[in-house]
């Protein structure tokens, strides 16, 4: 094979030909030839101690490298799956507890209703119902609107001439942040919304829209996008006033500048779930003339109504 005449057609590929056709170490052939010249059989024993030692060594090398190069990924994977399992277990536990609380509170409500009925004070029962609606502990239904906000599509940053590319490299500007939701929700309160929920989490007097890492939290529960903000309010004025005020214009600027998707739908009837009331431990009603006067403030605007509601719901 090597003693071919000149002008082989594959002369330019000698390296590959060599590698493909004579892959065996030529040392084996040479050693066999010299052994045959010395009158020995061409092959040596397969059971020499040196060979066994090297076989053990090679086996250990294979196993060691497999373990060393594989362990880091499995270790992180194990930790990750363990953490995910714990998160899911805690979430399931929390959901079960929430259902339990809902069951208990409906029992309490029934007991309260019978107790109030027995005392034949119908005024108290209706007052309680009104306070519950104001405090946001019961589900409410009414005309309103649903604003669906979602992150910008992945490629919009490159198309947007207004986005600063240097800033976009560090922070994803097309992502909805907690502050965005806060401004939109404040705009809805300003427009006269009477009840608001974000992804089914009612914004009560003690609710907060926060962020933890990448996630947006409402009532200590993390939300997944898209974010659906449901508001109940006067069907004629709510959407119009929202579009006019700071919240509406902020949403509009998010859409125009950062490609964030925001969809406003007016509905005849939306349902906003209640949030189980968190009992107040430290706050006590103030028995003074100031408290008597505060309820006179306008109803429907959060900043003024929230403290008032909180005081009244506490026993």
């Amino acid at each position: 094979m090597s003693a071919t005449p000149r002008g082989r057609p594959d002369a330019s590929m000698t390296l590959i030909t060599e590698m493909m056709q004579r892959p065996l170490d030529p040392g084996y052939a040479a050693a066999a030839e010299s052994r045959q010249k010395a009158g020995l059989p061409p092959a040596t024993s397969h059971h020499g101690p040196l060979l066994v030692i090297f076989a053990v060594l090679i086996g250990a090398l294979l196993a060691t490298s497999a373990m060393a190069l594989r362990t880091p990924t499995t270790a992180t994977g194990q930790i990750k799956s363990a953490l995910v399992g714990r998160i899911e277990a805690s979430r399931a536990h929390a959901d079960a507890q929430t259902r339990f609380i809902a069951g208990l509170s409906s029992e309490i409500n029934a007991a309260q209703a019978t107790a109030l009925g027995q005392q034949s004070q119908g005024g108290l029962a209706t007052e309680l119902a009104g306070l519950e609606i104001a405090a946001g502990t019961v589900s409410v239904i009414g005309p309103g609107m649903v604003i669906t906000v979602d992150d910008a599509p992945a490629d919009v940053g490159s198309k947007n001439p207004n986005a600063d590319p240097q800033k976009a490299a560090g922070v994803d500007l097309g992502k909805v942040r907690d502050a965005d939701l806060q401004i939109i929700v404040n705009g809805l309160w300003m427009a006269g919304a009477e009840a608001i929920s974000v992804n089914g989490h009612r914004l009560t007097a003690r609710a907060a829209i926060r962020s933890a890492g990448e996630a947006i939290l409402v009532n200590y529960r993390s939300l997944v996008r898209p974010y659906a903000i449901t508001a109940i309010g006067d069907p004629g004025s709510l959407s119009v006033e929202f579009a006019d005020n700071a919240g509406g214009s902020y949403l509009q600027s998010l859409k125009v500048n950062y490609g964030i998707r925001g969809d406003i739908q007016t509905r005849d009837s939306v349902v906003i779930p209640g949030e189980p009331a968190l009992s107040l431990l430290a706050a006590k009603p103030v028995q003074s003339s100031v408290t008597k006067e505060t309820p006179a403030t306008t109803f429907g605007r959060t900043p003024s109504t929230t403290p008032q509601q909180t005081t009244e719901t506490s026993p």
Partner: protein, 110 residues
Amino acid sequence: MIPALGLIVGLAVGLFLHPAVPLPLQPYLPIAVIAALDAVFGGVRAVLDGIFNDKVFVVSFLSNVVVAAFIVFLGDQLGVGSQLSTGVVVVLGIRIFSNVASIRRHLFRA
């Protein structure tokens, strides 16, 4: 047969003791594995060809590992470590495949 047992013993030792490999040496492990596999398949082929020689086997294994590691080390120093690793893997991989093909012809006559 005894070397095959030795290989299994070595695998078991590595699996159960799993010795810690220092971090700076870890990039060389894949290359060392490929080089060792090349030597092993070359040795098996030589056995089947009837020209096996334990000295040649040991020397070829050691030189394969050392040269492959040296090439990768040099590549790391020059900033082309991954490319040279790829080169080593390609060359030794081709050799492994043709040795395996030859072993296959010996064993199955196909």
